[in-house]
Symmetry: D3
Subunit: 69 residues, 6 copies
């Protein structure tokens, strides 16, 4: 299984916050960091994930912004 | 300085690949991982970054996709 | 402080509409125009913005669509 | 003609920079500001725009990031 | 009317699910497939669409991800 | 294998156009339609796809725009 995206990391779901249409999922990745994804509740249900689930976190490079101080 | 984005990490630029309009920037983040951003050459020049520069890597949660095996 | 994004403008928050997971923030920019951002409530709280706050509005060029009539 | 996007403004193309796959289009909008869009050359050719063309600049609110100093 | 986007298809709205800030719209496209868009309620109201409405579904190529099994 | 995205369809690569940093991939999907993805050449090489390859086309609903005439 391969993705056409430059940013990929594996992690574990640590929190799922459900809204009415959307939800927010926090994922613990290595190095004590967390990443966050927002998706529809329908997608959440399709994924069937909950706290403790192993997931792949994927982001296309065009949607990653760099800034400097 | 604060961002309205759930995904933020600091890193160091390790590679800049310039095209004709766009460029690709690889950033080393903690835990031996790298992230990648694609932006216009104009933005790269504004940022004034090169190998070794310290940058913040920012991504909105809506653009982060989760998958399971 | 610099951003790797082609679209940047300063403005003032004129409305914040909170949902259960997401929120919508309207920003008045020069020339009597308004722009709108949707983000998580968590990001809103991190930003600590409310009506009257000064903010920077940032969008990557790849996410800007042009159309003609 | 209506769009399901919160950010819409009309402008005039002031520069087109062509790459091999992508291109960058600068659009002058009211209030002496410019916005920038990156698209494929194929889309540019479909639009049939050049310097001086009138265009609509459209961005979904989820892809607009707010920051504070 | 033309769009600077590589992915365009016409369809018919088959479901609208309203949240507090966002909503989810399902669109039936040819070949028995459905596509899905998430937008703000404000955009939904501007569009004035409901079940049975004819809409154009538009996505920029940079936001389309390819994967292989 | 599951994705947290509402828009998913299988197709066959019919064209790959390589630039210096980015590339554009056209995918034939059922019903005589084509979809298009832009990604980095690095991602293309990781995917290892070429004309004739079977791929999954994935897009998050937040990046899908609806319009009406």
């Amino acid at each position: 299984m391969k993705y056409g995206a430059r940013n990929q990391v594996q992690g574990e779901v640590v929190e799922v916050k459900r809204g009415t249409v959307m939800c927010q999922v926090k994922v613990k990745i290595p190095a004590e960091a967390t990443m966050c994804s927002v998706m529809t509740l329908d997608s959440l249900d399709d994924l069937g994930i909950a706290e403790g689930s192993k997931v792949n976190v994927v982001a296309k490079a065009v949607n990653v912004l760099l800034t400097t101080d």
